[in-house]
């Protein structure tokens, strides 16, 4: 963005208050344009592939605690359905959720993509947002051969620092009057405050979700364990693990750097009909600098106690970049 061209004043000239007014308005446009770009965008994907009519209702809902306020700016469903599936619908609910709309994709077959996009702006302010998929079917059995839900979000960097005051010049009644120095000073101070907040608020808040379904009992295969994550220096703010499994087993979701675990949360099952959540919050600074294989950063799922089959497990990593 290039700043607007401001009118210049010269010594020895008669002061024209209208020129000052015009400059303040140009300044306000510059500052507010910058504030309008205060959002950080990202996306996370919720996987419902392989879900069928025998799955427990607990496996149709991702409960995602709200570490920081964010806006949902769109939901899209990618669906390859099997016979008997009419449509799938995503809803977002929770005490701190407002403005969310439902999104529905109509099944088009096993190998034909059905894609539904819904752009809206909903606020997720607090509590736990629950992303629930409901399936309409003409009869049973049915299977979602492949089904992913992309949730596009934006976070306001003002939520991770000082308040982001917008600035609108309010004392512009200079023409024809004695220059009001205090009023002018107040405008400059307000503009400075707005600019400084924008400069100071540098944290971008994001989420990643790694999910697995139907892990068999016994030792956990290497193919079920890891999701590589982009290399960058970042701070893990929170890790949440959700699991549906017998009460005699637990699962741990953790963020790792090249050699060791950095932070993780272990959730112990509460039976096959309910989701158990565990949360670990941290301020640990994490440096993940490589993306060449063995030294990747990872989100890793691993067994805690027990060897029971795991119906559904996911980990949400919250970043403050």
């Amino acid at each position: 963005m290039i700043p607007r061209e401001h009118l210049r004043f010269t010594d020895g000239s008669t002061f024209e208050a209208s020129r000052l007014t015009q400059n303040l308005r140009l300044l306000a446009d510059d500052v507010n344009d910058a504030l309008a770009r205060r959002y950080a965008y990202s996306s996370f994907t919720l996987d419902f592939s392989t879900v069928n009519n025998t799955f427990d209702p607990a496996e149709f809902a991702y409960q995602i605690p709200t570490l920081f306020a964010y806006d949902i700016v769109g939901v899209e469903i990618e669906l390859y359905a099997a016979t008997n599936v009419t449509s799938v619908t995503m809803t977002v609910t929770g005490a701190g959720v407002s403005g969310a709309e439902t999104t529905t994709a109509v099944g088009a077959g096993v190998t034909t993509r059905a894609f539904a996009q819904n752009s809206f702006v909903a606020q997720v302010a607090s509590g736990t947002a629950t992303y629930t998929l409901s399936v309409a079917a003409s009869s049973t059995p049915w299977t979602l051969t492949a089904c992913r839900v992309n949730v596009m979000i934006r976070t306001d960097r003002g939520n991770a620092g000082a308040a982001h005051p917008m600035w609108t010049p309010s004392n512009l009644a200079f023409p024809g009057k004695t220059t009001n120095e205090a009023a002018f000073d107040a405008e400059i101070v307000a503009a400075d405050a707005s600019t400084d907040a924008n400069i100071a608020n540098t944290k971008r808040l994001r989420m990643e979700v790694f999910t697995r379904r139907s892990i068999p009992g016994g030792a956990m295969a290497a193919s079920d364990q890891d999701l590589p994550i982009p290399p960058t220096t970042r701070t893990v703010a929170q890790v949440v693990t959700g699991v549906v499994c017998a009460a005699t087993s637990s699962m741990r979701g953790a963020v790792r750097d090249s050699s060791s675990e950095l932070v993780g949360a272990t959730a112990t099952g509460t039976g096959l009909s309910s989701l158990a959540l565990a949360t670990t919050t941290t301020t640990a600074a994490v440096s993940i600098a490589s993306s060449t294989g063995a030294s990747d950063g990872l989100i890793r799922l691993s067994r805690g106690t027990g060897t029971d089959a795991i119906s559904f497990v996911y980990t949400v990593a919250y970043w403050s970049l």
Binding site: H6, R8, L27, A40, Y41, V110, R113, T178, I199, P228
Partner: protein, 163 residues
């Protein structure tokens, strides 16, 4: 009668846009989209081998990283490819929609955690994601035997927001 310094006034008025321009707002940030497929073979349902997503904001691709876990000894090449699948012809130039980036891993023996990456910044034409355009990540396996798991991770970086 009040005497106003023109230079002071000019300084006051120019400092703010200077600060906004030079330090305000955002540096580029990194996030990702991923496609995670178990038991990948050529007959795996297309829905499990592809992932469509719409870019929430303008960004450029920094890496397409492919990680494969393979325990079956056989000759095969696993490839991850990114393409654009929808466009708004009225607002997005064709060249943005014709970009592709791919990464491949070739096996002759069993291996685990084998990885490859393709860095778009080394190509002559950086790959750009445009807000509102839908993109597709695709995984393919050239061989007849499966790989236990293939994960394609597309890392993107927002444009620096000098505002």
């Amino acid at each position: 009668m009040t005497v106003i310094s023109a230079s002071d006034l000019n300084t006051d008025l120019s400092n703010i846009p200077f600060n906004v321009l030079s330090a305000g707002s955002d540096a580029g940030v990194l996030y990702s989209f991923s496609l995670d497929t178990l038991d990948l073979i050529s007959t795996t349902n297309v829905g499990l081998r592809t992932h469509d997503f719409t870019a929430p904001d303008d960004a450029f691709v920094t890496t397409l990283h492919l990680r494969v876990i393979n325990t079956v000894v056989a000759s095969k090449t696993i490839t991850a490819t990114l393409t654009a699948i929808s466009s708004d012809e009225t607002s997005v130039p064709d060249y943005l929609n014709q970009q592709t980036v791919s990464a491949a891993v070739t096996f002759s023996t069993a291996a685990t955690h084998f990885a490859s990456s393709d860095h778009s910044s080394t190509s002559l034409t950086p790959v750009v994601l445009v807000k509102g355009i839908t993109y597709r990540l695709t995984l393919t396996n050239s061989g007849a035997s499966n790989v236990d798991r293939a994960v394609a991770v597309l890392s993107v970086r927002s444009f620096k927001r000098r505002a």
